[in-house]
């Protein structure tokens, strides 16, 4: 009787193993099938959040409206600088940067495991999305596309430990490698001991990684520390994007 039960269990495990070998092919279409229920659940939770966090949203709204006023002024000022820059570039006949094409996508779900920071977006192959495309928000760099289905895709966020990109300090142009830590902060490594980097420096993409255009804001330096060996430095970065409140992103289509 025991042998028969063990046979049953072994048969089941064998079938499950064979099943798992072939099932990865069905992962992407399965996520596409779940797109509609994910969207429904997401909409319901957004509405519930709006009701539950009404007071907090009201205060935040007031604060943001004030900020918008200041930012509008800043935009006008920067637009002037941009136009002047364009005129000067024409004068010295420099080549113009190519215009980036952006596709807006909504976050409809997140990876349920704790060990990765991945979101599910509602755009896929039919929207010209391909793997390794960069995703940004108005605040800065958010991550990159890693898996693409027909109508959905998965994007790895900056704070995923598997994420890495070359970056520079905007002020001193010091290069380093930024990667995620699973928490709401990033780490920039391989900084020489004599690096010109200090707290509150802005970190931007260097353009050396093919996926990410140059000059996209990654975050702000919060702390600088020595590596265990003492031979180099690393710094902790407060990301420009709040990954926990990510609802919409822009995908850069090359």
């Amino acid at each position: 009787m025991v042998r028969f039960k063990n046979k049953k269990l072994i048969t089941f495990l064998l079938i499950a193993f064979l099943f798992c070998l072939f099932i990865p092919l069905l992962r992407k279409p399965s996520v596409d099938i779940l797109e509609f229920p994910l969207k429904i659940f997401n909409s319901i939770t957004q509405e519930l959040k709006a009701i539950i966090f009404y007071h907090r949203n009201y205060i935040e709204n007031k604060k943001l409206n004030k900020e918008i006023g200041f930012l509008k002024q800043e935009i006008i000022r920067l637009r002037e600088i941009y136009l002047e820059n364009e005129r000067l570039k024409k004068l010295v006949s420099l080549k113009k940067n190519s215009v980036q094409h952006l596709v807006a996508a909504r976050v409809i779900g997140r990876d349920p495991s704790y060990w990765t920071s991945v979101v599910i977006l509602d755009k896929g192959k039919k929207d010209n999305i391909k793997p390794k495309l960069a995703i940004i928000t108005p605040a800065g760099l958010a991550g990159k596309i890693i898996e693409v289905g027909n109508s959905t895709s998965k994007a790895m966020l900056l704070n995923d430990p598997n994420f890495a990109t070359s970056a520079i300090v905007q002020r001193s142009r010091q290069e380093g490698l930024v990667s995620g830590t699973l928490e709401n902060r990033l780490i920039m490594r391989y900084l020489p001991r004599e690096s010109d980097i200090k707290s509150q420096d802005i970190i931007v993409t260097s353009g050396l990684t093919e996926t990410f255009p140059k000059g996209i804001v990654i975050g702000v330096v919060s702390e600088i520390r020595k590596e265990f060996s003492g031979l180099s430095l690393y710094c902790l970065i407060k990301p420009a994007v709040d990954f926990e409140k990510l609802e919409e992103v822009l995908i850069i289509i090359k």
């Binding site: 798992c20 099932i23 996520v31 779940l34 990876d111 349920p112 495991s113 991945v118 699973l182 709401n184």
Partner: protein, 154 residues
């Protein structure tokens, strides 16, 4: 019919975990509702039914995540099998005992999954691994009572 209801319930829990639980994160940790359901089902059903539910729950979690495919399926089936065997040898009654078993299962699941992912992809700092495992055990245990009640109702 009851088994189909349970499978639908597991699917709904997976969708809820993927969409709705972000706003109740504490230190980047969310409660693992599917695992609670698998453990409760392990106490209540026979081996083959438990394995079926565990397989389905792990499979859904694998579809929605990006780790190596089959990792969650394997861990959930292992947990379901162990609990089914345990519930035959020992009487696991009492809410506190079941919550304690859930906490232990969550810690083990996170340690195993985190360790495998460390080898598969970038290493995860040991401090973060331990902290997330213990925090998720406490937080998940906190949510176990409503899942017990819902499953009893089904």
């Amino acid at each position: 019919m009851k088994k189909i209801k349970i499978l639908i319930f597991l699917l709904l829990l997976a969708l809820l975990e993927t969409t709705g639980l972000d706003s109740i994160r504490i230190f980047n940790v969310r409660p693992d509702l599917i695992l609670i359901a698998v453990i409760v089902l392990g106490f209540s059903y026979n081996l083959s039914a438990t394995l079926m539910f565990s397989f389905f729950a792990g499979f859904i979690k694998d579809i929605l995540s990006t780790g190596p495919f089959g990792l969650n399926t394997f861990i959930f089936v292992l947990i379901g099998y162990t609990l089914s065997k345990l519930s035959k040898r020992f009487i696991i009654e009492g809410l506190i005992l079941r919550i304690a078993i859930i906490s232990i299962a969550v810690i083990l699941e996170n340690l195993v999954a985190g360790s495998i992912l460390s080898f598969y992809a970038s290493p995860i700092a040991l401090g973060i691994l331990l902290r997330l495992s213990f925090l998720s055990a406490i937080y998940t245990a906190f949510f176990s009572y409503p899942i017990f009640k819902l499953l009893n109702y089904i």
